[in-house]
């Protein structure tokens, strides 16, 4: 809105840089590669037991190439949010607050993907959409809801410093709560359906392992790319707001000339210097 071309910190008009552009293209190519590997290169999961029956996850196994990496990076995101929040409270650098916020948004999306693919996968494999007895599933759902609350809190207009501080506290409390939730859910049902060690349980073909590794790599790139851009958006909006401050100050001071007429008649007070020592 304001012309800031002469401002000492000139604000770029987009969030990309040569590095992130390359990163973006590599990520996109990686996603295409992952689709090809997940659907065409890797085999379906089927094993023959000793008595000759065919068991396995069949095509549902292909969901794991998204489910597992997105779950891992959801937890990575929330860890970064927790870490960023601690550092923000400690050092009070806005930079870390923006990292925490950006990471939480990505974490919620990844966590949502994890839950969605988990539900879809559960239907053919466990024969149920949702399984309350599964510790990781329930814990992840609560983690998701806690950070949905965190984002909702951040979306409410608030004084910027107070918002950053309180959001940091919420993130830390939320992260601290995860082990407690995990323990309590585990004791609650005392059983777990989840693939304790997915990789060991499956008959790991070379292609399966390779596809999963591609999935991890692609999600790492995707996470990085999203984080950088989301962070830059947050940073730019902060910069824009601060660049607007000078203008806001000028506008605020200009109110004097328009509004003070009713108070005391007089002239050219608006041009008075900022230092008005009241006593003579």
């Amino acid at each position: 809105m304001a012309e800031n071309t002469n401002s000492p910190t000139s604000i770029p008009d987009n969030t990309s840089s040569p590095t992130t552009r390359i990163l973006g293209w590599v990520t996109l190519a990686g996603l295409a590669l992952l689709v090809i590997f997940a659907f065409f290169v890797s085999p379906e999961d089927s094993r023959q037991t000793a008595d000759g029956t065919i068991i396995g996850q069949f095509d549902a196994v292909r969901l794991l190439y998204i489910h597992v990496p997105s779950a891992v990076f959801a937890y990575v995101s929330f860890s970064i949010t927790g870490l960023g929040s601690i550092i923000y409270l400690w050092r009070r650098t806005r930079w870390w607050d923006h990292v925490a916020h950006a990471s939480a948004e990505i974490g919620v999306i990844f966590c949502g993907i994890t839950l969605l693919t988990g539900i879809i996968w559960g239907r053919p494999v466990w024969n149920t959409w949702w399984e309350w007895g599964d510790v990781r599933l329930v814990t992840t759902l609560l983690l998701f809801l806690i950070f949905v609350g965190y984002l909702a809190f951040r979306a409410v207009p608030n004084e910027p410093h107070r918002q950053a501080r309180n959001a940091s506290i919420l993130a830390i409390v939320g992260a601290l709560n995860i082990p407690v939730v995990n323990r309590s859910v585990e004791w609650w049902e005392n059983r777990t359906l989840h693939q304790r060690s997915t990789l060991a349980d499956l008959k790991i073909e070379d292609e399966t392992l390779l596809t999963l590794m591609i999935g991890f790599a692609v999600f790492a790139l995707l996470f990085l790319w999203l984080l950088v851009h989301r962070f830059r958006v947050a940073w730019l909006s902060k910069e824009a707001a601060e660049a607007g401050l000078e203008q806001a100050l000028a506008e605020r001071r200009a109110e004097a000339s328009s509004s003070s007429g009713a108070e005391v008649s007089g002239s050219s007070r608006a041009e008075a210097s900022s230092s008005v020592e009241a006593r003579s």
Binding site: S7, P8, P157, N158, E159, P160, H161, A241, E242, G244, L245, E246, A248, L249, R252, R253, A254, E255, A256, S257, S259, S260, A262, E263, V264, G266, R269, A270, A272, S273, S274, S275, V276, E277, A278, R279, S280
Partner: protein, 264 residues
């Protein structure tokens, strides 16, 4: 960052800040992104009453909240009662207990009586024990007595600190035990000012102390303010009224978050 340098230019630092109860130089306060104060300069000596006027939204309430240490200083400099406003953290804000703040809205508990409200303010301030000892002639060492002050303050026979503060503000005695929510706006105003006065602040920050008061009430409030100043407290009064005491006082006018001029 350039805003900070912009607003901190050209202030006169010859005077020692410690001489003043309040000294602000190019003070900027942001409420969100809005500069409620855009470079306010004011100095108030101990024992002095300053009247602050200004249109709605001129930054009067923010000025008082800044002086009470309730909002942070964004740019510029300021000291209150000798303490630097730029010091952050509640540990560095002990001085706030020496400030009395009467907000535009009264900070009273509607379901407590007038007297209970004043007693609560008194007890929070830690002055209850002192006052109780003073009333008993200062002789007794009342360590165990402190906890009972809230309930037994009237048992001593002499009127309690809270009751005398309410009497000083001319709240009829029959209303002392009335719930505040049943009092009129003007009566609530008196109770709120009594809550400030029992703390014996060194700096009084009063936002529209005359609001909804009748002529007698205004005069009474003016007297209380004048007494406080005579006892050495600094007073900043935000008001639209032309009170008895206020006509010949130093007046500063806020507009657009700055002081525009001074009337001698």
């Amino acid at each position: 960052m350039s805003a900070r340098s912009l607003v901190s230019e050209g202030f006169d630092s010859l005077k020692l800040a410690m001489d003043y109860a309040v000294s602000l130089r190019s003070a900027v306060v942001l409420l969100g992104r809005f500069p409620a104060l855009s470079g306010a300069d004011i100095s108030v000596e101990r024992g002095e009453i300053v009247v602050v006027r200004g249109a709605n939204g001129a930054g009067k309430t923010t000025l008082l909240r800044l002086c009470a240490g309730l909002v942070a200083l964004y740019a510029g400099e300021g000291e209150v009662l000798g303490y630097d406003l730029r010091e952050a953290g509640s540990a560095a804000k002990d001085w706030r207990s020496r400030v009395g703040f009467l907000g535009h809205e009264t900070r009273l508990y509607g379901d407590l009586t007038a007297k209970e409200n004043v007693e609560f303010a008194l007890a929070l301030s830690g002055r209850a024990a002192l006052s109780a000892r003073a009333q008993r002639g200062g002789g007794l060492r009342g360590g165990g007595q402190r906890g009972r002050e809230l309930r037994h303050s009237t048992a001593t026979g002499s009127p309690s600190v809270a009751a005398s503060a309410l009497e000083r503000l001319e709240l009829p005695e029959r209303l002392h035990h009335e719930r505040v929510s049943r009092l009129s706006a003007g009566q609530q105003r008196r109770v709120a000012l009594a809550c400030v006065s029992v703390r014996h602040p060194e700096l009084w920050l009063l936002d529209e102390p005359h609001a909804s008061l009748d002529a007698d009430g205004r005069e009474c409030v003016d007297d209380v303010i004048a007494e406080a100043a005579a006892a050495g407290a600094a007073v900043i009064v935000v008001t639209h009224e032309q009170g008895k005491v206020f006509d010949n006082l130093r007046t500063a006018t806020l507009a657009g978050g700055r002081f525009m001029e001074a009337l001698p």
